[in-house]
């Protein structure tokens, strides 16, 4: 460990060790490729799934180990800068890596059953692993160049994953829409980055921050660039007005993919947004580029649009898609409540948003995986079709009730504390209006979340549920684990929020 605790170093062994979670993910992706190319006709679903899970779990383990050991954190020599500062390993990066790998583990476990009959599951697992690798890179990117590259690296496998069911019109349509909006958004992001480069002459985040004070007449160019970079972040996090892909992509994609995108991919977008705006663009607040207000407006519109549009959906999956947009709005508060110079409150509110994304990673993934299970059973998609499922699958339905109430922010579950801390942080930072909108929309969200619980537990079955006999091991295990973690995050919220706030504080130090 001692090697890792030092500051800069150039040899590649050191770099690999510092980036070990990402490297492990990439290697696992390649191993899965390798297995498939050695036995192109063998459908080694179990072997592939186990290999993938081993990879994500070991990456998760390393990320947590580093977090606990203090690697890259102020207590142990500060952030580790690699590749001339293009990559930086610190608490924020490790924290988000833990989120991605947890979600990926759950999703892979679920996919084992979901793609049981698939012709070639190897491509699915490797796409998922490579996307996770790219997300891990997004979280440690310290240069706009690596940000763009890793973001694209995460997006491209995601498009393919959404359109993975090649013969399913919904999946293909979803993939198309996701891809087209993604292409436009990445072009906007690239253009924004080029404008920031034009104004400051650098792509490294700390250098940009240093240059912002002397942009002079080019502050307009910088401003447009920053708004466009914000657009790129908004695309990845599914925030208004770059959210249009999300409802369709989540609805049409295979449910495990929806789970992965709405939890991990969204968190990755926030990882980039938090680091870029906190590190590079904070000085821009002083020269008339008020991106805090920008994110404030986006947060309000996103919360309102996501939650309101979710309220009258007829299909559970699409409702969850919109609720996922609403949650992006909550997490945006972490960026919106940043004010120039107020390091302490900035760190608190951003840490709260990170903690919320952590909790959200489990409860939202679990909810989508429950839907994956329902899809596998062949039950319909609407609220009516879900009626009476609790009689057939009480444990899973109980877990789903936990996810719904936790997403709504009812006390008893992890989602309550994270939302509460987030809103409290916003109030303390002086942004009571963000907290107020968040509270009102949360109240509304209880309405549509409880519709699911009501259908599951209180209504009588409308359709024939005899098909539900089997309990797919992997899916069930993933749902139950997510449920248990969601419950445990209520008493165990302390360490999460402390880690998150320490990581955020290092960014503002």
């Amino acid at each position: 460990m001692s090697l890792l605790l030092q500051g800069t170093a150039t040899d590649w062994v050191f770099s690999v060790r510092a980036l070990l979670p990402v490297v492990l993910l990439a290697l696992t992706g390649l191993v899965v490729f390798g297995i498939n190319s050695l036995r192109p006709d063998g459908r080694d679903n179990k072997l592939l799934a186990l290999t993938s899970i081993a990879g994500t779990l070991s990456a998760l383990g390393v990320a947590i180990w580093y977090l606990l050991a203090g690697t890259g954190q102020p207590t142990h020599g500060g952030a580790i800068s690699l590749f001339s500062g293009a990559i930086i390993v610190d608490g924020l990066g490790l924290f988000f890596t833990a989120i991605f790998t947890s979600v990926a583990t759950l999703v892979i476990a679920a996919s084992y059953d979901y793609f049981e009959t698939d012709a070639n599951p190897a491509s699915f697992y490797s796409l998922l692993l490579l996307a996770t690798t790219a997300m891990g890179l997004m979280a440690v990117s310290n240069s706009l160049a690596t940000v763009f590259v890793s973001l694209e690296m995460a997006s491209l496998p995601s498009y393919a994953l959404v359109a993975y069911l090649k013969d399913n019109r919904g999946s293909v349509e979803a993939g198309l829409k996701y891809f087209l909006i993604g292409a436009v958004s990445s072009a906007v992001l690239a253009f924004g980055i080029s404008l920031v480069y034009a104004a400051t002459g650098s792509l490294l985040l700390p250098d940009i921050a240093a240059q912002i004070g002397s942009v002079g007449d080019l502050n307009g160019v910088l401003g447009v660039g920053i708004v466009m970079v914000a657009g790129g972040v908004a695309f990845k996090t599914a925030s208004v007005p770059f959210h249009f892909w999300a409802p369709e992509a989540y609805e049409g994609a295979p449910a495990p993919v929806s789970a992965f995108l709405s939890s991990a991919s969204k968190a990755a977008g926030f990882a980039v947004g938090f680091r870029v705006f906190a590190t590079a663009f904070q000085p821009a607040l002083d020269i008339g580029i008020d991106w805090g207000l920008l994110f404030g407006i986006l947060a309000v519109v996103t919360m309102v649009l996501g939650n309101f549009a979710a309220a009258t959906q007829t299909e559970v999956k699409r409702m969850l898609a919109y609720s996922s947009i609403g949650h992006a709005g909550y997490a945006l508060i972490g960026l919106a409540a940043i004010t120039a110079g107020a390091s302490a409150t900035n760190a608190t509110v951003m840490g709260a948003a990170m903690a919320h994304l952590f909790v959200y990673g489990f409860m939202n993934t679990g909810a989508f995986l429950f839907i994956a299970m329902v899809e596998r059973w062949g039950v319909g998609r609407t609220f009516e079709d879900y009626a009476g499922l609790a009689e057939r699958a009480p444990m899973a339905s109980l877990a789903m009730a936990v996810f719904m109430f936790s997403l709504a922010g009812l006390p008893l579950f992890g989602g309550f504390l994270s939302k509460y801390v987030l809103f409290l942080g916003a109030i303390n930072a002086g942004f009571w209006w963000l907290a107020a909108v968040g509270a009102v929309t949360s109240a509304l969200s209880l309405f549509y979340y409880s519709r699911v619980v009501k259908a599951l537990w209180l209504e009588d079955a409308t359709t024939d549920l005899d098909a539900i006999g089997d309990a797919p091991t992997g899916l069930y295990a993933a749902v139950i684990v997510a449920g248990v973690v969601t419950v445990l995050l209520l008493p165990g919220f302390g360490p999460v929020i402390e880690t998150a706030e320490a990581a955020a504080a290092a960014l503002f130090a």
Binding site: E152, L156, V172, L176, A183, V184, S186, A190, F191
Partner: protein
């Protein structure tokens, strides 16, 4: 030497042409091309200001952008292919079964 503003105007113009294409074209391939055009607008900026600032960062990044654009097209073409297989055409407006 050409003043930097000119490059900005050029790249903005190309960006807008690409955007216009995206807003008006129904064929998925045109849609792809327009997106590429928008990326190239960014490339122009990067190269031009790399020269302006006297460092190679922009030029190097431009190469990355070009490579990623190619990768994006590869994935995009794949999606267009399955679109054709499922919908029988590549009109992006026809895939509208999911809405609201």
């Amino acid at each position: 030497m050409v003043p930097p503003e000119y490059y900005l105007v050029l790249s903005a113009a190309i960006f807008c042409i690409g955007l216009f294409g995206i807003l008006t074209r129904r064929n998925a391939l045109y849609f792809l091309m327009s997106a590429e055009l928008m990326l190239n607008a960014a490339v122009i900026n990067l190269v031009a200001f790399s020269f302006q600032w006297g460092n190679l960062t922009g030029q190097t990044f431009a190469l990355f952008v070009i490579a990623l654009a190619a990768a994006e097209v590869a994935v995009g073409i794949g999606i267009v292919l399955v679109l054709y297989r499922n919908f029988g055409e590549i009109d992006v407006l026809n895939a509208d079964s999911m809405r609201w």
